[in-house]
Subunit: 204 residues, 4 copies
DNA sequence: CATGAATGAGTCTTCATTCAT
DNA sequence: GATGAATGAAGACTCATTCAT
């Protein structure tokens, strides 16, 4: 469906793919342009033909990877808010989470580096839009926080999964059959819906 | 109560305080030893008198700040597991969250930098111990994941709050009176208990 | 004859020349990359474009300067051993000694710095090959030692000459006309042949 | 006999011993005061109580270790020169060579570091005195060079032995029984006397 | 006698970036 | 489209040295 998910042809696209891969694996600061260039088999200078700056690569990454979220947002903005719509938003957001994993991971684990970057802000704005759609109009601060937490549960689950895999079979969840990326997403969806369910009536 | 929380006298202690402050504000990589030294009014070389390496400072930070968590773990290990114990564990963990905020933040937002650091592993181990205590023995992978997510909800809430404050009054939650650090913690506690409640009976 | 002896064009070659010059004058450790860069009129970073590491420069030096020795070794390996071949080996080795002086000097006076360096080992291997050719097959340990001493007499002579020149006209040999580089080499050759002559019949 | 050869009591003496050991093993520049202090179980500052400067330690080393050479020089200065005296000088010089090995080694392998050091000059002067005694008055430059080379043959042999031991059993001389320190010295003495024998009648 | 704390100068090295070709 | 060569700024780290205690 989305044309942006598979490795693009053309150097520019390949740079984005490799950069996201490395950034999410090792971090933004920890990844040098030389590494990216090396893995691509080109020179550093070639990167500068396609991107004005290292930060600009992040720009490209987000631009390319945020499209699916934009679709969800667009859909949400056309609906009248209701608990059903809210849950559907979360489900749609969840739908792409698995593929977006590297992006989410990159975004969260590199806050310090992205803090002052214009590219980071772009992504943040999208998340804020999503959050607003989830909690609906005139929400209390607590409700807003819940909405945000619901959405971030996906990231948390993904984060934990990664830690887990890195730690080997001894680790906290990886007891064999269950915790694959998909199953982690499933649990995260469950949790997200639970959290969101109490948005209206925080105390029963 | 704990004597380790407020700025210690002695240069070594002051280094730890300032370093944690800067690391959690700007990130580990983004903070140079010069900055730390400057803010302390000493030379870089003085840092090296007290710590063998930049990484070693992180070591010191964790050693110093993880003591409260260790207490909770110690308590938990003495109890027979039960849903009540589980909830109490979460509450005790929550209790110090507000003060520990910078540490949690630092830990999460600097994953890339800490990944290969022995200091990072130390902290990770403590979290794993907490998670195991929360889900109790013989838990399913899904239950384990939930346990982890419950505990991490504090971090998520803190993370969101920070983003929020940084963004100014326009932002998602900060509508004036409510979302202070304490209130964020409160919501996070609520959410954590909800998530944990379903550990045993994931679907009702 | 050999095209590698005079200053090469191209920065890489110039770095090697200047580095050997400085290393042999002041020592490896005592020569900073800044000095090399300054004398070349480039920045330190430029050195790193051409060499991965300070040690790598040594690598380059040896690679470039050891070619003449390799030729002698190659010749020696084709001959059937005999006292005449042995003496010819020494003469051929002596032939280039004067030009190779800085290299020999650098190699000997920087043992501590080169000890753990892969570059140093490369040179050592060449010397060992030469020594083996000189003493021939099935030599007694004493014979081997003599062979080695014969070859090293060139270094000793060169070393003494340098000390001498540094010390001014008051010094041990420099009584005016005689001891130039060539004449020192000549004496060294004489001595080397004497030492080698007794390899077979150590005691008469 | 000499009281200076075994580890002295008193910190000052122990510093000298340890320093010589490390300097000759790893080199002067390559050995930091911290290493010396650590191996002694004291602090760097303690070294400064006993020596004004790092270079001053070298001073101490030479002062302490050169005494035996001074004795030989003193004896030589009382004799009327003759070939027999010359040979006896060499034999006396050889006598202590084995014990003095680390000093000789240190002196030669650290030329670059000692070049500008007043401590280095002291030792050099002693060697010059020895050389002058060996070649006798009114010697030709070539004769002087030979005299020097004769004496330095001990260093060469020691140097080669060390290289050898470092290289393991595969190496050039170490074929089992022979080349110990003593036997290397023996060969060196033989060679030294040969070289010296031709001082008068360089060409037969 | 010796230490604990600190410094200033300097080291090697890495990086994002530029530009002529 | 891309490269080879180079730069300037910065970073972590080391070292000899000092001095009050």
């Amino acid at each position: 469906m989305s044309t942006t998910q598979r490795p693009r042809t053309g150097t520019r696209g390949r740079i984005i793919d490799v950069a996201l891969e490395l950034f999410s694996e090792q971090g933004y600061q920890e990844t040098s342009l030389r590494e990216i260039a090396d893995r691509l088999g080109v020179t550093k200078a070639a990167l500068y033909y396609h991107f004005k700056t290292k930060d600009d690569i992040v720009h490209g990454i987000i631009e390319q990877a945020a499209a699916p979220i934009d679709e969800v947002i667009a859909w949400g903005e056309e609906q009248e808010w209701s608990p059903e719509v809210r849950d559907e938003l979360i489900r749609r957001f969840a739908a792409g989470s698995a593929e977006r994993a590297p992006l989410l991971r990159f975004f969260h684990e590199n806050q310090p580096a992205l803090r002052d970057s214009s590219a980071g802000l772009e992504f943040k704005e999208r998340m804020i839009a999503m959050i607003k759609l989830v909690h609906g109009p005139e929400a209390t601060p607590a409700a807003r926080l819940r909405a945000a937490m619901a959405l971030f549960s996906f990231h948390t689950a993904l984060f934990l999964l990664k830690q887990d895999l890195a730690a080997g079979p001894e680790a906290l969840c990886a007891t064999g059959t269950v915790t694959t990326l998909d199953q982690a997403t499933e649990v995260a969806l469950e949790v997200a819906l639970e959290i969101a369910a109490r948005i209206d009536s925080p105390r029963d």
